[in-house]
Protein backbone atom coordinates (compact mmCIF):
# COMPACT_ATOMS: atom_id res chain seq x y z
CA UNK A 1 0.00 0.00 0.00
CA UNK A 2 1.47 3.38 -1.06
CA UNK A 3 0.82 5.36 2.11
CA UNK A 4 1.40 9.10 2.36
CA UNK A 5 1.34 11.12 5.56
CA UNK A 6 1.00 14.86 5.71
CA UNK A 7 0.62 17.22 8.60
CA UNK A 8 0.07 20.87 9.32
CA UNK A 9 -2.18 21.43 6.30
CA UNK A 10 -5.94 21.40 6.02
CA UNK A 11 -8.71 22.24 3.60
CA UNK A 12 -9.96 25.79 4.20
CA UNK A 13 -12.76 25.84 1.62
CA UNK A 14 -14.36 24.08 -1.34
CA UNK A 15 -16.49 25.51 -4.14
CA UNK A 16 -17.67 23.95 -7.41
CA UNK A 17 -18.90 25.45 -10.68
CA UNK A 18 -20.85 23.85 -13.52
CA UNK A 19 -21.96 25.20 -16.91
CA UNK A 20 -25.40 26.74 -17.11
CA UNK A 21 -26.29 24.59 -20.14
CA UNK A 22 -28.18 21.55 -18.90
CA UNK A 23 -29.29 18.43 -20.75
CA UNK A 24 -31.69 15.75 -19.61
CA UNK A 25 -33.94 13.01 -21.01
CA UNK A 26 -35.64 15.40 -23.40
CA UNK A 27 -32.32 16.20 -25.03
CA UNK A 28 -31.02 12.63 -24.87
CA UNK A 29 -34.08 11.31 -26.75
CA UNK A 30 -33.09 13.47 -29.72
CA UNK A 31 -30.07 11.22 -30.18
CA UNK A 32 -31.10 7.86 -28.76
CA UNK A 33 -34.39 5.99 -28.75
CA UNK A 34 -36.50 6.23 -25.63
CA UNK A 35 -35.89 2.65 -24.52
CA UNK A 36 -32.12 3.14 -24.63
CA UNK A 37 -32.39 6.34 -22.61
CA UNK A 38 -34.64 4.53 -20.12
CA UNK A 39 -32.02 1.80 -19.69
CA UNK A 40 -29.18 4.24 -19.09
CA UNK A 41 -31.09 6.43 -16.68
CA UNK A 42 -32.50 3.47 -14.76
CA UNK A 43 -29.12 1.92 -14.03
CA UNK A 44 -26.97 5.04 -13.66
CA UNK A 45 -29.63 7.37 -12.11
CA UNK A 46 -27.93 10.22 -13.94
CA UNK A 47 -30.93 12.38 -14.75
CA UNK A 48 -29.11 15.43 -16.06
CA UNK A 49 -25.67 16.69 -17.03
CA UNK A 50 -24.25 20.16 -17.51
CA UNK A 51 -22.07 20.83 -20.54
CA UNK A 52 -19.73 23.70 -21.26
CA UNK A 53 -19.09 23.19 -24.96
CA UNK A 54 -22.10 25.21 -26.12
CA UNK A 55 -20.80 28.32 -24.36
CA UNK A 56 -17.18 27.71 -25.32
CA UNK A 57 -16.32 26.83 -21.74
CA UNK A 58 -13.25 24.80 -20.93
CA UNK A 59 -12.28 22.93 -17.79
CA UNK A 60 -9.98 25.87 -17.09
CA UNK A 61 -12.95 28.25 -17.25
CA UNK A 62 -14.96 26.19 -14.80
CA UNK A 63 -11.96 25.88 -12.51
CA UNK A 64 -11.32 29.61 -12.74
CA UNK A 65 -14.90 30.50 -11.81
CA UNK A 66 -14.83 28.10 -8.87
CA UNK A 67 -11.49 29.40 -7.61
CA UNK A 68 -12.19 33.09 -8.16
CA UNK A 69 -15.50 32.81 -6.36
CA UNK A 70 -14.02 30.80 -3.48
CA UNK A 71 -11.11 33.18 -2.95
CA UNK A 72 -13.49 36.15 -2.90
CA UNK A 73 -15.83 34.46 -0.44
CA UNK A 74 -12.97 33.61 1.90
CA UNK A 75 -11.40 37.04 1.35
CA UNK A 76 -8.01 35.50 0.65
CA UNK A 77 -4.93 37.62 0.00
CA UNK A 78 -3.98 36.10 -3.35
CA UNK A 79 -0.34 37.12 -2.96
CA UNK A 80 -0.12 34.52 -0.18
CA UNK A 81 -1.01 31.62 -2.48
CA UNK A 82 2.28 29.93 -3.26
CA UNK A 83 1.07 26.73 -4.90
CA UNK A 84 -1.42 26.15 -7.72
CA UNK A 85 -2.07 22.63 -9.02
CA UNK A 86 -4.55 22.12 -11.87
CA UNK A 87 -5.76 18.55 -12.34
CA UNK A 88 -7.37 17.58 -15.64
CA UNK A 89 -6.81 15.94 -19.00
CA UNK A 90 -8.92 18.63 -20.68
CA UNK A 91 -6.29 21.33 -20.82
CA UNK A 92 -6.77 24.65 -22.61
CA UNK A 93 -3.66 24.20 -24.76
CA UNK A 94 -1.10 21.55 -25.67
CA UNK A 95 1.42 23.94 -24.11
CA UNK A 96 1.67 25.73 -21.71
CA UNK A 97 -0.26 24.12 -18.90
CA UNK A 98 -3.65 25.49 -17.93
CA UNK A 99 -2.24 26.30 -14.50
CA UNK A 100 -0.18 29.04 -16.15
CA UNK A 101 -3.31 30.58 -17.65
CA UNK A 102 -5.12 30.31 -14.34
CA UNK A 103 -2.25 32.04 -12.56
CA UNK A 104 -2.80 35.02 -14.84
CA UNK A 105 -6.58 34.95 -14.62
CA UNK A 106 -6.61 34.61 -10.84
CA UNK A 107 -4.01 37.33 -10.37
CA UNK A 108 -1.57 35.11 -8.48
CA UNK A 109 1.97 36.31 -7.93
CA UNK A 110 5.12 35.13 -9.68
CA UNK A 111 6.03 33.58 -6.32
CA UNK A 112 3.32 31.00 -6.87
CA UNK A 113 4.52 27.76 -8.42
CA UNK A 114 2.07 26.29 -10.90
CA UNK A 115 1.74 22.89 -12.48
CA UNK A 116 -0.76 20.69 -14.28
CA UNK A 117 -1.36 17.10 -13.28
CA UNK A 118 -2.86 14.64 -15.73
CA UNK A 119 -5.50 12.72 -13.81
CA UNK A 120 -9.21 12.19 -14.11
CA UNK A 121 -11.48 10.47 -11.62
CA UNK A 122 -8.71 9.84 -9.08
CA UNK A 123 -7.60 13.44 -9.51
CA UNK A 124 -9.00 14.93 -6.32
CA UNK A 125 -7.24 12.44 -4.04
CA UNK A 126 -4.01 12.57 -6.05
CA UNK A 127 -4.20 16.37 -6.25
CA UNK A 128 -4.86 16.78 -2.56
CA UNK A 129 -1.82 14.71 -1.69
CA UNK A 130 0.36 16.66 -4.11
CA UNK A 131 -0.70 20.05 -2.76
CA UNK A 132 -0.35 18.98 0.86
CA UNK A 133 3.10 17.53 0.19
CA UNK A 134 4.18 20.75 -1.52
CA UNK A 135 2.79 22.79 1.36
CA UNK A 136 4.79 20.73 3.85
CA UNK A 137 8.03 21.56 2.06
CA UNK A 138 7.27 25.24 1.61
CA UNK A 139 6.47 28.31 3.67
CA UNK A 140 3.48 29.16 1.52
CA UNK A 141 0.45 30.25 3.53
CA UNK A 142 -2.01 28.82 1.02
CA UNK A 143 -2.13 26.18 -1.69
CA UNK A 144 -4.84 26.00 -4.33
CA UNK A 145 -6.02 22.81 -5.97
CA UNK A 146 -8.27 23.13 -9.01
CA UNK A 147 -9.82 19.94 -10.40
CA UNK A 148 -11.91 20.19 -13.54
CA UNK A 149 -12.94 18.27 -16.62
CA UNK A 150 -15.02 18.51 -19.77
CA UNK A 151 -14.84 14.82 -20.63
CA UNK A 152 -18.08 14.77 -22.60
CA UNK A 153 -16.33 16.51 -25.49
CA UNK A 154 -14.20 13.42 -26.09
CA UNK A 155 -17.12 10.97 -26.30
CA UNK A 156 -18.75 9.76 -29.49
CA UNK A 157 -22.26 11.17 -29.85
CA UNK A 158 -23.45 7.61 -30.52
CA UNK A 159 -21.97 6.35 -27.25
CA UNK A 160 -24.31 6.07 -24.27
CA UNK A 161 -21.42 7.31 -22.14
CA UNK A 162 -22.23 10.77 -23.54
CA UNK A 163 -25.36 10.69 -21.37
CA UNK A 164 -23.30 10.18 -18.23
CA UNK A 165 -20.33 12.55 -18.29
CA UNK A 166 -20.93 16.07 -17.02
CA UNK A 167 -18.61 19.07 -16.94
CA UNK A 168 -17.52 20.72 -13.70
CA UNK A 169 -14.70 22.53 -11.97
CA UNK A 170 -13.86 22.62 -8.28
CA UNK A 171 -11.51 24.76 -6.24
CA UNK A 172 -10.07 23.54 -2.97
CA UNK A 173 -8.06 25.96 -0.85
CA UNK A 174 -5.46 24.55 1.55
CA UNK A 175 -4.04 26.44 4.52
CA UNK A 176 -2.12 25.86 7.71
CA UNK A 177 -3.29 24.04 10.81
CA UNK A 178 -0.66 22.68 13.17
CA UNK A 179 -2.98 20.02 14.47
CA UNK A 180 -4.00 18.57 11.09
CA UNK A 181 -2.73 15.14 10.11
CA UNK A 182 -3.76 13.17 7.06
CA UNK A 183 -3.06 9.75 5.68
CA UNK A 184 -3.66 8.98 2.03
CA UNK A 185 -3.35 5.81 0.00
CA UNK A 186 -2.63 6.21 -3.69
CA UNK A 187 -2.56 3.23 -6.03
CA UNK A 188 -2.33 2.61 -9.75
CA UNK A 189 -2.42 -0.24 -12.24
CA UNK A 190 -0.92 0.68 -15.58
CA UNK A 191 -1.40 -2.88 -16.80
CA UNK A 192 -5.01 -1.87 -17.29
CA UNK A 193 -4.26 1.44 -19.02
CA UNK A 194 -6.54 0.61 -21.96
CA UNK A 195 -9.60 0.22 -19.72
CA UNK A 196 -10.51 3.90 -20.18
CA UNK A 197 -8.62 5.60 -22.99
CA UNK A 198 -8.67 8.18 -25.75
CA UNK A 199 -6.20 6.45 -28.09
CA UNK A 200 -5.48 9.23 -30.61
CA UNK A 201 -4.31 12.83 -30.44
CA UNK A 202 -1.42 12.19 -28.07
CA UNK A 203 2.13 11.92 -29.27
CA UNK A 204 1.89 8.14 -29.65
CA UNK A 205 -0.59 8.68 -32.51
CA UNK A 206 -0.72 12.42 -33.00
CA UNK A 207 -2.94 12.94 -36.05
CA UNK A 208 -4.89 9.75 -36.79
CA UNK A 209 -7.57 10.07 -39.42
CA UNK A 210 -11.10 10.74 -38.30
CA UNK A 211 -12.54 7.49 -39.56
CA UNK A 212 -15.25 6.09 -37.29
CA UNK A 213 -14.79 2.41 -36.58
CA UNK A 214 -17.16 -0.02 -34.88
CA UNK A 215 -15.48 -1.06 -31.63
CA UNK A 216 -16.01 -4.23 -29.62
CA UNK A 217 -18.87 -2.59 -27.71
CA UNK A 218 -20.76 -1.86 -30.91
CA UNK A 219 -20.12 1.89 -30.72
CA UNK A 220 -18.81 3.80 -33.73
CA UNK A 221 -15.97 6.03 -32.66
CA UNK A 222 -12.81 7.70 -33.90
CA UNK A 223 -9.43 7.47 -32.19
CA UNK A 224 -10.11 10.92 -30.76
CA UNK A 225 -13.03 9.57 -28.74
CA UNK A 226 -13.19 7.82 -25.39
CA UNK A 227 -13.27 4.04 -25.18
CA UNK A 228 -14.34 2.59 -21.84
CA UNK A 229 -14.51 -1.09 -20.91
CA UNK A 230 -17.64 -0.72 -18.80
CA UNK A 231 -17.51 -4.13 -17.18
CA UNK A 232 -13.78 -3.75 -16.52
CA UNK A 233 -14.48 -0.48 -14.74
CA UNK A 234 -17.29 -2.12 -12.77
CA UNK A 235 -15.02 -4.95 -11.66
CA UNK A 236 -12.26 -2.50 -10.70
CA UNK A 237 -14.59 -0.21 -8.74
CA UNK A 238 -16.33 -2.90 -6.78
CA UNK A 239 -13.25 -5.03 -6.11
CA UNK A 240 -9.97 -3.08 -6.06
CA UNK A 241 -11.44 0.17 -4.80
CA UNK A 242 -13.60 -1.42 -2.12
CA UNK A 243 -10.60 -3.49 -0.98
CA UNK A 244 -8.46 -0.34 -0.72
CA UNK A 245 -11.12 1.44 1.36
CA UNK A 246 -11.30 -1.53 3.72
CA UNK A 247 -7.50 -1.66 3.93
CA UNK A 248 -7.37 2.08 4.61
CA UNK A 249 -9.81 1.80 7.49
CA UNK A 250 -7.91 -1.18 8.89
CA UNK A 251 -4.62 0.69 8.66
CA UNK A 252 -6.00 3.84 10.27
CA UNK A 253 -7.86 1.83 12.95
CA UNK A 254 -11.12 3.45 11.94
CA UNK A 255 -14.50 2.14 10.97
CA UNK A 256 -17.74 3.46 9.53
CA UNK A 257 -18.79 5.13 12.75
CA UNK A 258 -15.66 7.31 12.74
CA UNK A 259 -16.75 9.11 9.57
CA UNK A 260 -19.66 11.45 9.01
CA UNK A 261 -19.37 11.34 5.22
CA UNK A 262 -18.11 8.93 2.57
CA UNK A 263 -17.43 10.98 -0.54
CA UNK A 264 -16.97 8.73 -3.55
CA UNK A 265 -16.18 9.48 -7.14
CA UNK A 266 -19.57 9.82 -8.82
CA UNK A 267 -19.24 7.20 -11.57
CA UNK A 268 -22.87 6.04 -11.56
CA UNK A 269 -25.36 4.81 -8.97
CA UNK A 270 -24.98 1.19 -10.01
CA UNK A 271 -21.35 1.29 -8.86
CA UNK A 272 -21.95 3.48 -5.81
CA UNK A 273 -24.79 1.29 -4.56
CA UNK A 274 -22.61 -1.78 -4.86
CA UNK A 275 -19.82 -0.05 -2.96
CA UNK A 276 -22.25 1.02 -0.25
CA UNK A 277 -23.61 -2.48 0.07
CA UNK A 278 -20.18 -4.10 0.23
CA UNK A 279 -18.97 -1.58 2.81
CA UNK A 280 -22.30 -1.58 4.67
CA UNK A 281 -22.63 2.19 4.46
CA UNK A 282 -25.87 3.93 5.42
CA UNK A 283 -27.26 6.13 2.65
CA UNK A 284 -27.26 9.25 4.82
CA UNK A 285 -23.46 9.15 4.95
CA UNK A 286 -22.98 9.02 1.16
CA UNK A 287 -23.71 12.34 -0.57
CA UNK A 288 -24.66 12.15 -4.23
CA UNK A 289 -24.25 14.77 -6.95
CA UNK A 290 -24.58 12.57 -10.03
CA UNK A 291 -28.38 12.69 -10.26
CA UNK A 292 -28.19 16.30 -11.45
CA UNK A 293 -24.60 16.60 -12.65
CA UNK A 294 -23.51 13.14 -13.83
CA UNK A 295 -20.00 11.78 -13.64
CA UNK A 296 -17.86 14.91 -13.28
CA UNK A 297 -14.49 13.15 -13.27
CA UNK A 298 -11.90 14.66 -10.90
CA UNK A 299 -14.40 17.24 -9.66
CA UNK A 300 -16.89 14.63 -8.53
CA UNK A 301 -15.73 14.26 -4.91
CA UNK A 302 -15.94 18.01 -4.21
CA UNK A 303 -19.20 18.06 -6.17
CA UNK A 304 -20.65 15.36 -3.92
CA UNK A 305 -19.51 17.24 -0.82
CA UNK A 306 -20.98 20.53 -2.02
CA UNK A 307 -24.20 18.92 -3.25
CA UNK A 308 -24.78 17.19 0.06
CA UNK A 309 -23.48 19.78 2.49
CA UNK A 310 -26.90 21.00 3.67
CA UNK A 311 -27.42 17.56 5.19
CA UNK A 312 -24.38 18.02 7.39
CA UNK A 313 -24.61 21.65 8.48
CA UNK A 314 -25.94 20.58 11.85
CA UNK A 315 -22.29 19.87 12.63
CA UNK A 316 -19.63 22.57 12.47
CA UNK A 317 -17.04 20.01 11.45
CA UNK A 318 -17.40 16.70 9.62
CA UNK A 319 -14.97 13.83 9.17
CA UNK A 320 -14.80 12.70 5.56
CA UNK A 321 -13.42 9.58 3.91
CA UNK A 322 -12.97 10.21 0.20
CA UNK A 323 -12.20 7.75 -2.58
CA UNK A 324 -11.52 8.57 -6.22
CA UNK A 325 -10.95 5.96 -8.94
CA UNK A 326 -10.73 5.82 -12.71
CA UNK A 327 -8.51 6.45 -15.70
CA UNK A 328 -5.03 4.99 -15.46
CA UNK A 329 -6.22 2.95 -13.78
CA UNK A 330 -5.60 4.99 -10.67
CA UNK A 331 -7.33 5.16 -7.34
CA UNK A 332 -6.86 6.59 -3.89
CA UNK A 333 -8.37 6.89 -0.44
CA UNK A 334 -7.95 9.72 2.02
CA UNK A 335 -9.70 11.26 5.00
CA UNK A 336 -9.89 14.76 6.36
CA UNK A 337 -11.97 17.09 8.49
CA UNK A 338 -14.02 19.88 6.97
CA UNK A 339 -15.49 23.02 8.46
CA UNK A 340 -19.00 22.88 7.04
CA UNK A 341 -19.26 26.67 6.94
CA UNK A 342 -16.64 26.77 4.19
CA UNK A 343 -18.25 24.21 1.89
CA UNK A 344 -20.31 26.17 -0.61
CA UNK A 345 -23.31 25.27 -2.78
CA UNK A 346 -22.57 24.44 -6.41
CA UNK A 347 -22.83 27.48 -8.70
CA UNK A 348 -23.77 27.64 -12.35
CA UNK A 349 -21.81 29.80 -14.74
CA UNK A 350 -21.91 30.95 -18.32
CA UNK A 351 -18.48 32.55 -18.06
CA UNK A 352 -15.72 31.64 -20.45
CA UNK A 353 -12.46 33.14 -21.73
CA UNK A 354 -12.90 33.98 -25.40
CA UNK A 355 -9.57 35.82 -25.54
CA UNK A 356 -7.98 32.45 -24.89
CA UNK A 357 -8.71 31.45 -28.50
CA UNK A 358 -5.60 32.89 -30.11
CA UNK A 359 -5.26 34.39 -33.57
CA UNK A 360 -1.90 33.55 -35.10
CA UNK A 361 -1.93 36.79 -37.05
CA UNK A 362 -1.86 38.66 -33.77
CA UNK A 363 0.95 36.65 -32.22
Amino acid sequence: MALFRTSGVEIKGILCAVPEHREDRTDHEKRFDKEAVDRVLASTEINAIHLGQYAGQTAGDLGFTAADTLLNKLDIDRSKIGILVFVSYATDYRKPGTSSVLQKRLGLSVDCMVTDVGQACAGFVYGQQIVESLMMTSDSKYGLLIVADTGNRMVSRTDHTSLMLGDAGAAILFGRNEMAEHETVLQADGFRFKTIIVPGGGFRDLLPDEESVECSDGVMRTKYELFMDGLGVLSFSTNDVVDSIRAYMTHTHTDIEDYDVFAFHQANMFIIKRMMKKLKLPAEKVPISLHEYGNTSCASIPMALCAGIDNYRNKSEIKVLASGFGIGLAWGVTSFSLNTANIYPIIETGDCYPEGVLNLHEM
Binding site: R39, S43, D217, G230
Partner: protein, 81 residues
Protein backbone atom coordinates in the same frame (compact mmCIF):
# COMPACT_ATOMS: atom_id res chain seq x y z
CA UNK B 1 -45.80 -15.06 -11.14
CA UNK B 2 -43.26 -17.86 -11.24
CA UNK B 3 -39.58 -17.08 -10.99
CA UNK B 4 -39.10 -18.22 -14.58
CA UNK B 5 -41.83 -15.88 -15.78
CA UNK B 6 -40.37 -13.05 -13.69
CA UNK B 7 -36.93 -13.72 -15.17
CA UNK B 8 -38.23 -13.72 -18.73
CA UNK B 9 -40.31 -10.59 -18.17
CA UNK B 10 -37.26 -8.77 -16.84
CA UNK B 11 -35.33 -9.69 -19.98
CA UNK B 12 -38.19 -8.63 -22.25
CA UNK B 13 -38.64 -5.30 -20.45
CA UNK B 14 -35.01 -4.30 -20.11
CA UNK B 15 -33.90 -5.44 -23.54
CA UNK B 16 -37.10 -4.05 -25.10
CA UNK B 17 -37.76 -7.22 -27.08
CA UNK B 18 -41.12 -8.76 -28.03
CA UNK B 19 -42.45 -11.31 -25.58
CA UNK B 20 -42.73 -13.92 -28.31
CA UNK B 21 -38.94 -13.90 -28.64
CA UNK B 22 -37.27 -17.23 -27.95
CA UNK B 23 -35.37 -16.41 -24.77
CA UNK B 24 -33.04 -19.39 -25.05
CA UNK B 25 -31.33 -17.66 -27.97
CA UNK B 26 -30.57 -14.45 -26.13
CA UNK B 27 -26.86 -13.68 -25.85
CA UNK B 28 -24.92 -10.71 -24.55
CA UNK B 29 -23.10 -8.81 -27.24
CA UNK B 30 -25.25 -10.46 -29.90
CA UNK B 31 -28.87 -9.84 -29.05
CA UNK B 32 -30.50 -6.49 -29.53
CA UNK B 33 -29.78 -4.01 -26.73
CA UNK B 34 -27.75 -6.52 -24.70
CA UNK B 35 -24.59 -4.41 -24.88
CA UNK B 36 -22.60 -3.28 -21.82
CA UNK B 37 -25.16 -0.62 -20.93
CA UNK B 38 -27.99 -3.06 -21.44
CA UNK B 39 -26.13 -5.59 -19.32
CA UNK B 40 -25.82 -3.20 -16.39
CA UNK B 41 -29.48 -2.30 -16.72
CA UNK B 42 -30.37 -6.00 -16.84
CA UNK B 43 -28.29 -6.79 -13.77
CA UNK B 44 -29.91 -3.88 -11.89
CA UNK B 45 -33.37 -5.08 -12.81
CA UNK B 46 -32.69 -8.74 -11.95
CA UNK B 47 -31.16 -7.79 -8.62
CA UNK B 48 -34.23 -5.73 -7.79
CA UNK B 49 -36.66 -8.35 -9.04
CA UNK B 50 -35.06 -11.20 -7.08
CA UNK B 51 -33.59 -9.19 -4.16
CA UNK B 52 -30.06 -10.42 -4.73
CA UNK B 53 -26.70 -8.77 -5.41
CA UNK B 54 -24.53 -10.56 -7.91
CA UNK B 55 -20.88 -11.09 -7.16
CA UNK B 56 -18.74 -9.46 -9.81
CA UNK B 57 -17.62 -12.82 -11.21
CA UNK B 58 -21.22 -13.88 -11.78
CA UNK B 59 -22.10 -10.51 -13.27
CA UNK B 60 -19.25 -10.84 -15.77
CA UNK B 61 -19.94 -14.47 -16.64
CA UNK B 62 -23.67 -13.91 -17.29
CA UNK B 63 -23.88 -14.00 -21.08
CA UNK B 64 -26.85 -16.18 -22.01
CA UNK B 65 -30.39 -16.90 -20.87
CA UNK B 66 -29.43 -20.30 -19.45
CA UNK B 67 -26.39 -18.90 -17.62
CA UNK B 68 -28.62 -16.36 -15.95
CA UNK B 69 -30.80 -19.10 -14.54
CA UNK B 70 -27.82 -21.04 -13.22
CA UNK B 71 -26.42 -17.90 -11.61
CA UNK B 72 -29.72 -17.02 -9.95
CA UNK B 73 -29.94 -20.56 -8.61
CA UNK B 74 -26.61 -19.96 -6.83
CA UNK B 75 -28.35 -17.16 -4.94
CA UNK B 76 -31.13 -19.45 -3.79
CA UNK B 77 -33.66 -18.62 -6.48
CA UNK B 78 -35.71 -21.69 -7.33
CA UNK B 79 -36.88 -22.30 -10.87
CA UNK B 80 -39.62 -24.77 -11.62
CA UNK B 81 -38.59 -27.32 -14.25
Amino acid sequence: MSNLAKYKKTLYDVLAIPEETDCSSLERGVSQNWDSVGHIALISALEEAFDVMFEIEDLLSFKTFDQGIEILKKYGIMFED
